[in-house]
Amino acid sequence: MKKFEEAKKIYDKIEIPEELSGVVKETIEQHKQKEVKIRVPYWRYSVLAAASVMLCFTITLNTNASFAKTVKDVPILKTIAKILTIRSYEEKDDDKTTTVNVPAIEDKREETSRKINDINKTIDEKIESYVKRASEDIKEYKKAFMETGGTEEEWKEKDIHVNVDYKVMSQTENYVSFVISGCEDWTSAYSVDYFYNINLNTGEDITLEELLGKDYIEKANQSIRSQMKERTEKNKELTYFTKEEGGFETISKDVKFYINKKGNPVIVFDKYEVAPGFMGQQEFEIK
């Protein structure tokens, strides 16, 4: 049996080509995107879901006396501000398909409305400039593609998409944390995430200092380092860049973060920022 161990050593030495992790990552990414293209528009789900909820509601109300009582007891949720989609469009031209959902904060209180309006305006501008840049990128890519012998038909087959959407990470009466993501599906290199953490009482950005205290940089650094160690020890396939490779040293004042449901800040590093591409975006919750 010992001989087999020796043979396994040779087996383990079979060289892993550099391309492997890229191929794996790319294949997974492509699958995800294919899946999105055939998805049912989600408003249909909402309508269906709403319909079924109403149905359940009627039945339970009529058949269950104690349920009727429970409904009365539920306090009315007081959401003063909320995030909603103010603009949503899909545009198709010869180069690509662009799908955009623009969010905005809706706040009925007068004290903060001006600041909130400003935020909404910058959101809108940011998204527009992203879409503009993306379409320029794609135009350039198409030009290069055509010049190297590509045909219009082959280009159509690529079916390139630009997507902008947002997600609310957490929300309370006092703050809202959400992220706007933009991506071009022909390359993962041009994805961007904009994080917004807004104090709804003042209309100001929430800072890490407010959440973690004066020594927030040191606190976050320590936590990130120990989480990196933990992850690489748990899974030997994972690696982070070393200092020499330009890896993580310290967070900067304007590091990206969002606030999770527990109210903790989660620091986010872009793909390639602290680790090789296959590790994707890296998140660290700071407790």
Binding site: K3, E6, A7, P17, L20, E35, V164
Partner: protein, 183 residues
């Protein structure tokens, strides 16, 4: 946290089935990410060619993700992915008809001179590589990837006694090859 990811999560909340799919998919993706090197090495042992082995890994991932609905239990993912991988490897061999010679006597003398080096362990490694497909699969998964014979039975879709038979005949064949080499 891509756009796609959370749209699917959003759907998941509306419909339980989709949500389960979401968690299964991310589980499979994590699993593939963790084990990609293993998959490559196994593929390489069959096809002996970097590009083809990469292709096989890629095809395997596509098939795993596309057919994930047919996987019922998460814990079966390990053997299920191996099953697809081995299937892809054997398919490739059949397709290109680059089947590796099965019987030791079928191998020319040059093959021995070229492939076998000084160390006995390397002789064993090469000998495993030239075993017939079915025996090779069992030995490879058992001794290199430490899979149990029961797991191998699930991967090769045979029963346990067949796996045992293949293992023993494989070991016997290895002995013959090694003996010839030493003499």
């Amino acid at each position: 946290m891509t756009v796609y990811g959370f749209q699917r999560l959003y759907l998941g909340r509306k419909r339980n089935g989709t949500r389960m799919k979401q968690t299964l998919q991310s589980y499979l993706i994590d699993f593939i990410m963790e084990n990609q090197k293993k998959y490559y090495r196994i593929a390489y042992c069959y096809v002996k060619n970097k590009e083809t082995a990469l292709d096989i890994v890629q095809n395997t991932i596509v098939k795993v993700l596309e057919n994930q609905d047919s996987l019922r239990k998460k814990r079966a993912a390990k053997t299920w992915i191996y099953q697809i991988l081995i299937h892809e490897c054997l398919n490739e061999l059949r397709k290109t008809k680059r089947e590796i010679p099965c019987e030791p006597e079928q191998l020319g003398e040059d093959f021995y001179k070229e492939k076998f080096y000084d160390g006995e362990e390397e002789v064993l490694f090469e000998a495993i590589n030239i075993l017939p497909e079915k025996q090779k699969t069992v030995i490879l998964l058992h001794y290199y990837e430490y899979l149990t014979l029961k797991e191998i039975a699930a991967i090769t879709e045979t029963n346990l006694s067949t796996v045992k038979t293949r293992l023993y005949s494989g070991l016997k064949k290895l002995k013959t090859i090694l003996k010839e080499e030493i003499e």
